[in-house]
Symmetry: C2
Subunit: 312 residues, 2 copies
Amino acid sequence: MTERQENAIRLGLVGIGKIARDQHLPALASDDCFVLAATASRNATLDQIPGHADITAMLEGGHALDAVSLCTPPDGRHAQALAAIDAGLHVMLEKPPAATLSEIAALAERARARGVTLFTTWHSREAAGVGPARAWLTGKRIDAVRIAWREDIRRWHPGQEWILAPGGFGVFDPGINALSIATAILPDPLLLESAWMDVPEGRASPLAAGLTMRSGGAQVTAAFDFLQTGPQTWDIEVDTDAGMLRLRMGGSILQLPDAPEMQAPDREYARLYARFAELVAAGESDVDIRPIQLVADAFLLAERRMTAPFAF
Amino acid sequence: MTERQENAIRLGLVGIGKIARDQHLPALASDDCFVLAATASRNATLDQIPGHADITAMLEGGHALDAVSLCTPPDGRHAQALAAIDAGLHVMLEKPPAATLSEIAALAERARARGVTLFTTWHSREAAGVGPARAWLTGKRIDAVRIAWREDIRRWHPGQEWILAPGGFGVFDPGINALSIATAILPDPLLLESAWMDVPEGRASPLAAGLTMRSGGAQVTAAFDFLQTGPQTWDIEVDTDAGMLRLRMGGSILQLPDAPEMQAPDREYARLYARFAELVAAGESDVDIRPIQLVADAFLLAERRMTAPFAF
């Protein structure tokens, strides 16, 4: 571990799954604004960090925590976040911030009332190309936007039956990342006009979906596909009066007209924690529900088609 | 017409359908805070009131409007409301306020930026029993809430195919009224836990639905049914530590323990316009999305069952 700042934020991490190990722990280890003071997880613990079976035990563990970061599935996140807020702690939420929009609104209200920071993170917005893309688009006329998010569910979510269950979002689980980028780079509100979903027989959530949206004067289309074998696609193309912008590989590669391709190492979670530290220092919250709001709008408006049964 | 106040709000009414004739026009005729200065409707006009084919023509009609009230279907309401806001006018919206949550958020943002009042109305909240119900529940322990909203689609929506089309909300079209009352009378946030929907084969929106929610420590259930023949039910029962509260007939009848039944004439729309006038005078907005947010949450989480085809 690096040397910590004296006023470092004492953080409790809840949920030690793949995303915590792959992303949160490395980001925390290299950020001296944070001290990882405790964890909560039903099954896992970390060497040399006090571990608890659940968040209640962690909050009562005498760790003098300042903040909590939740990497558990969205299903139980509302209750956990509420417990942390009511204990006077700042809270950072993995995406999507909770299982429903009403839960997020209730958390935001409670955090406001308690005077603590609530940060709903959208990690894809921190991909290297997203900030420069937003900056380049500023002041340009946007004519059309095409989102293509096509990946192989069997490769990225092997055996994860919950993703096709009620509330599992289906192909919107990755697709919400595209919507988080689009809402961040487009200057005008992104509004849904129509949608379709292909839901396999016997499942509740879609394997494929298409959205037709608008943003200012531009039509915005999104194609989400969970059955893409071979090359995987996470691309956004924006036609403007100054040529086409292309964000590729989930926002990590930026192509601008007459410019060399921009690419940089993945620092998504390092940037999320840096932003969380800033918000805590400023006494502010950042609760942006636009990506999950668009997903809910899609479920509300979509024409559904039943497709063949799917097995992992 | 009664004599108008000198500083009365000059109102443009958009959409002259059943709800405008049954509710808005009588309410406006007896409220001297308003002058109905113009209308916009594709097909209808009113005697002695300048009429236009659409809102653009009405806004350019030289009527010195202060405000606009929208009674058109939710589908096109966002564009109409945006035109009014951008013309610097205050806007009142029938329920639901727009076709999607993203549209409502975008309107709220624009109204704030333009410094005009936006009022998302929920007429059932103005039913005679709702205010007294909220007051009576204050400070009581709420143990359970049961919502039963059962009506005959063929009687109340004859031939309205759109209500079962994508975005038509199905049985949530009336059900959202129950949710607007529940969110108004319950002191704690109303959060969805699970839901089911019965969608007839070949339709997109449900004829029946069940929600399991929670509010503080209380379980809240809602049963919505669009195939109820015989007696129609629009009831909410609340079990408390001081006995059971019953709101019946859409909130117009209130039954409290050991008290005579309370009933009063329907003044829902009169109260909505009085509130709109107050908001305009105070320079404030009232944008409460909780009822439609719960509907979107239900579409997001629901287990769907396909039922037999339905014909009106």
